[in-house]
């Protein structure tokens, strides 16, 4: 019958549209990343641009409080070697953290930074950071990780202390384990 053939053809086309839209849902993932990159959102794990003005502002001192956490279930010891450092805005500073994998297997983790006060994050320019990449530790491995940063001299004068807090999360599935 003619109608039957027509029906089959139309339904097939509609099914292809449905499958295409399923794929479109997944295509939104890279699309979203591109949009975020284009408008400069979500740059938590991106390298900061170097500050335009590299003049060190020696007239004031900012205390950087270093803090470290691990997400529930991640068997790592994670601590900063110094609890706090005093820096001048514009001055390049290096601090170090230490992580120990206490589990007898290889684990991959990712650190996510947060700042207190939150708005200070945009003046906290990281040139090098272990949070830019995944960190994979062998069983029982200990590793020292540097963070190189500059405080933008445009930091409002009212801020004289910034807390830099890192939380390590386990990247599940990386090593065949969820």
């Amino acid at each position: 019958m003619n109608v039957k053939k027509e029906n089959r053809r139309l339904s097939l086309r509609l099914a292809i549209v449905a499958l295409g839209m399923f794929a479109f849902g997944f295509a939104l993932v890279p699309f979203y990343d591109q949009i975020c990159a284009a408008v400069g959102l979500n740059s938590l794990v991106e390298k900061s641009d170097r500050p335009a003005n590299s003049q060190v502002d020696a007239t004031r001192t900012v205390t950087i409080e270093l803090d470290s956490n691990t997400a529930t279930g991640l068997p790592w010891q994670f601590r900063p070697l110094l609890r706090h450092v005093k820096v001048h805005p514009g001055e390049m500073t290096t601090v170090e953290y230490e992580i120990v994998n206490t589990r007898s297997e290889r684990i991959t983790g990712q650190a996510v930074a947060s700042y207190g006060p939150q708005f200070a994050g945009e003046y906290f320019k990281k040139i090098e950071c272990f949070c830019f990449t995944h960190q994979t530790l062998e069983a029982g491995e200990t590793r020292r990780l540097p963070v190189v940063f500059v405080i933008d001299p445009k930091l409002p004068r009212s801020v004289n202390s910034i807390a830099l807090s890192y939380t390590f999360f386990e990247v599940a599935g990386r090593d065949g384990k969820s």
Partner: protein, 534 residues
Amino acid sequence: MSAVVDTHGHDHSHEHGHGHHGGYGGIMRWITTTNHKDIGTLYLWFSFIMFMTGGAMAMAIRLELFQPGIQFFNPDLFNQFTTMHGLIMVFGAIMPVFVGFANWQIPMMIGAPDMAFARLNNWSFWLLPFAATLLVLSFFMPGGAPGVGWTLYAPLTVQMGIGMDLTIFAVHLLGMSSILGSINIITTILNMRAPGMTLMRMPLFVWTWLITAYLLVAVMPVLAGAVTMTLTDRHFGTSFFNASGGGDPVLYQHIFWFFGHPEVYIIALPGFGVISQVIPAFSRKPLFGYASMVYATSAIAILSFIVWAHHMYTVGMPVTGQLFFMYATILIAVPTGVKVFNWVATMWRGSLTFETPMLFACGFLFMFTLGGMTGLVLALVPVDIQLQDTYYVVAHFHYVMVAGALFAAFAGIYFWIPKWTGKMYDETLGKIHFWLTLIFFNMIFFVQHFLGLAGMPRRIPDYPLIFETWNKISSIGAFGMGLTQLLFLYVVLKCIRSGPPAPAKPWEGADSLEWTHLPTPVPYHTWETPPVLK
């Protein structure tokens, strides 16, 4: 309804000398049926059962909110109730009820003998009870049902217990059912119309369903994708929404609302279609501005794809983004306004009577417009930042979902039940059902506008003392509305069992094919020879 359809089939088989359900009787008849009328009936009863289930959860929520403090349910269970109430009402009650209408009405209205793919139709329905079972089973899993809200936002969904997996599979099944059903509906409408039934002569109900079915085919797969990503994040080590693996929970919201906003119109448009049949029938005038109704419906459907981020103004998007989504959202008021204008213009100088279907249609017109107005308020970025996640939002979307979609469904059932069963419902009881529903509905939700403006957040089982009065009123309204629906069940059962025989055309102004060319009650098989329209 079942008993009656049976009888008619019986009459019919006497007339034409053949049985109608391939020899099966009892339960097997319903499991194996490929008749669009039987499947329509199954959809309608299924959605009613889900409506009562979701309604029971709503009453549990209102019971907890009757007084400040925690009285009946721990907050965990409260969250599970709000989540499941939303999922069950959207996917189990409101969507299937209109698919039920589509199954019953579309073939009769366009002069087709049945749906294009009758077996597929059977399968589309029978996926639903399994999905519903999975949803309800999740309550009995360790950790209970998901308590994440019906939007299933990451990252909470990644952390929930096994109940979440059941919900994800339920959403997969529901999506599959909707997509198959929609493919069937589009094919039926485009290929199976009677000679002379051109697209622009189709009843508006058929038009709204054609557009709705296209929306479903376009967005249900996106939802399926979103929950699949949640599933792989939970169990297969991907990090779509997991910040620690480089994913982003906000991404979930974008994908979800890309589905979610068209979904709003998937729920509303078939209701618009029902109202567009009911109002002309009781105004005894043809629908005002038929062509503009078709174009307005299409415009709403197209615009619904570019407004999704108005559900997430506060996630931290650039001002340009907020402005774009705000203006696009406000733009939707234009085609919606055209529709409301046309309905009112249809009633203008008509010879109106107010039987129960018309009462529900008028209730729809007032309440839905009010819900649309609060929607415009919420579309404004600065206002929304203040009001988001308060009871103002709850009031807004219940005005469009309950007083919009549900009232339209009631209007449709009272309108067509004489046709389907051959018997009249009790007009007095129907009117009482309408007035009680209207009063209790406003008792529940009108006061929630005040609560929201005063800052009461949604989805929280407790509240400060100052909110007590309005919450009490709202809760009493909820219990009243729940009980009133038992009256509706009684009206329907009474109509099926002992209603007086309906006249061939109980509504003077009804003019679509099923009223003008088919006997009442409709025989089990209709349009074996298509009608020819001149």
